[in-house]
């Protein structure tokens, strides 16, 4: 069942807050990845606040759904959302990337409550998510594993190995969500490594594929419902997004993959997020 308009408004407001906090934070610490954090915001919000079964009071709960952020460089957004859920104090966000922090530059499962798997090296998160899905099946635990991937990450050959395996092992408890923002570190996806017809490729590797606007929470929730209903094969959602979403000068710009934010840029970004033109 689709989410209500009022619920959508609540989640949209939450996303706006997450974006503002992200910019505040990355400006203050002068490090971290804004572009991919901004594009994945609604995807993670839809999962953590609407669709996935997680319990901040019991992060190791056996029957939780597992969310694997394969694109580990979007850690700042993941942390902000985990903090909002109550896995750790929001106050702790300011320690991001600093010495002695629990909030490592890329997610560390040993350190940070709520982080399912340590990720960062691209291309291996999906394989591990598949392993979790197979392990849960063996243990007869009825949870869903969500692998949140970047589209640049699809350059890695291991992703396609994992897709073949997910198909072979009929991992229908695995939902792959691709943050399809079309921009990588060095340039656009088309410049660096064209993915061509991604839907056809994923289908050819055995996935049931859904597409949606990755910044529309209602569409994301519907796509997740559809993906969860798939039987006997893995499901993939191509979530069409914009890298740097919400900040005009960052949108679609590869330079903002991991660039520190200057003072003027910070002021402009915050004004835009507040809705002041």
């Amino acid at each position: 069942m689709s989410i209500s308009l009022s619920r959508k408004q609540e989640l949209d407001d939450l996303c706006r807050k997450f974006r503002m906090d992200l910019i505040e934070l990355l400006y203050s610490i002068q490090t971290g990845h804004p572009g991919g954090s901004l594009s994945v915001c609604e995807i993670l919000t839809a999962l953590y606040f609407e669709k996935a079964r997680v319990d901040p009071k019991n992060p190791g709960w056996e029957h939780r759904d597992r969310i694997v952020l394969a694109k580990g460089h979007a850690a700042p957004m993941l942390y902000r959302i985990l903090a909002e859920k109550g896995f750790f104090p929001v106050e702790e966000m300011k320690t991001l990337r600093q010495l002695n922090t629990r909030l490592q530059g890329h997610p560390c499962a040993l350190e940070t409550p709520g982080v399912e798997l340590s990720t960062g090296p691209l291309g291996i998160g999906l394989s591990a998510a598949l392993g979790i899905a197979l392990g849960l099946k063996l243990s007869k635990i009825d949870s869903t594993v969500y692998a949140v991937m970047g589209d640049g990450e699809l350059n890695e050959g291991t992703v396609w190995e994992a897709l073949m395996s997910a198909s072979k092992f009929k991992a229908d408890n695995l939902v792959i969500i691709i943050d399809r923002n079309n921009v990588q570190l060095d340039g656009t996806a088309d410049e660096i490594m064209p993915m061509g017809d991604l839907k056809a490729k994923l289908e050819a590797f055995g996935c049931e594929v859904f597409e949606c606007d990755g910044h529309n929470i209602s569409e994301l929730c519907d796509a997740i419902d559809n993906a969860k209903a798939v039987k006997e094969k893995p499901a993939a959602i191509i979530a069409r997004t914009v890298k740097g979403k919400g900040i005009s000068f960052m949108e679609g710009e590869s330079a903002w993959h991991g660039k520190p934010i200057g003072f003027e840029e910070y002021k402009t970004a915050m004004a835009e997020l507040r809705g002041e033109e």
């Binding site: 340590s118 979790i132 063996l138």
Partner: protein
């Protein structure tokens, strides 16, 4: 000669895996070579043939470990420490997931397939990964124990297994312990600290040297990490001359581990390194390869004599 290590390994996997339903086994389309196929036959629901895709196999195993399973990851050693390394580092080492890397066809044992299939770097590579434990099987009874131990101990591990038969140095009653090397033979003139197939070679070398009235202590340092620091220092104090012997590059393996102990903790530092001398080998009959690349009994005898001469020079 005992049974081939890989046959013993395959049987042990079935025997100990039967009692523990958390044991899962992965292979990369070489299960008839690694001998993990037997487990797959008996427990198909716990066996995952990942195809010729080692990097994916290793990271899949990480996910299985994250759900409490105990994955045994099988392929040729050379592919585990190269194609499989990113998953080993990120998920085994960094995340401390309970993954068991079984390096089949260790050293030169896949002799006829040539250097592309030899593994002379694996010990060095896995030894540098924090949290990893590293073991090398020297005979059939140790191979069996290494499987049992891997199931019982929650830690990422690398276990190197040979393709072939190795000299039997233990009995079914022998007790092993991680971090404790085994003294196979006593002697006061020098110590050979060996692992894997070189343990058998060392015993043979010691027998030859005894004919010349040279008495050599022989140690199986199957536990490369944690290494047995006390036994190394004790042997150095007792005999004053150490020869390390491994079917591995002389760089970074057992010899390196022993040298680190001797230099850091005040041992008498006379050490000769027997191993493959920073080169790739070639294809050929196994024992001929061992001889040509400096791992034969004669090379070991010469190394011991050289170490003893150096010890005398130092006075």
């Amino acid at each position: 000669m005992g049974r081939s290590q890989r046959d013993v390994y395959g049987d042990a996997l079935v025997r100990y895996g039967k009692d523990n339903e958390n044991v899962v086994v992965l292979d990369a389309d070489v299960s008839n070579s690694t001998k993990s196929a037997g487990f797959g036959k008996d427990f198909p629901e716990r066996f995952f043939n990942a195809g010729i895709a080692e990097a994916n196999m290793v990271s899949m195993a990480a996910g299985l470990a994250a759900t409490g399973k105990i994955p045994f990851i099988n392929t040729f050693a050379v592919f585990l420490n190269s194609i499989g390394l990113i998953g080993a580092r990120n998920f085994g080492s960094y995340s401390k997931l309970n993954m068991k890397f079984i390096g089949a066809y260790g050293g030169l044992s896949d002799s006829y397939d040539g250097p592309s299939h030899h593994s002379l770097e694996d010990i060095a590579i896995f030894r540098t990964l924090p949290n990893f434990q590293v073991f090398v099987a020297s005979d059939e009874y140790l191979t069996d124990w290494l499987v049992k131990n891997a199931i019982e101990v929650n830690a990422p591990m690398y276990i190197r297994i040979s393709r072939d038969e190795t000299r039997t140095v233990y009995t079914p009653e022998t007790k092993f312990e991680a971090g404790k090397g085994k003294v196979i033979r006593e002697g006061n003139d020098a110590t050979i600290i060996a692992c894997g197939v070189m343990v058998g070679q060392a015993v043979e070398a010691a027998e030859k040297l005894a004919e010349k009235d040279i008495y050599v202590r022989v140690i199986d340092m199957f536990t490369i990490k944690p290494v047995d620091r006390e036994l190394i220092l004790e042997s150095s104090a007792l005999t004053g001359a150490i020869v390390t012997a491994e079917e591995h590059s002389v760089i970074g393996g057992l010899g390196g581990a022993v040298a680190e102990v001797l230099t850091s903790y005040g041992g008498k530092i006379v050490q000769e390194f027997v191993g493959v001398n920073d080169c790739h080998a070639e294809c050929g009959q196994y024992s001929q390869l061992l001889d040509k690349y400096g791992l034969g009994v004669d090379s070991l005898v010469a190394a011991v004599e050289k170490a003893i001469a150096r010890k005398k020079e130092k006075g």
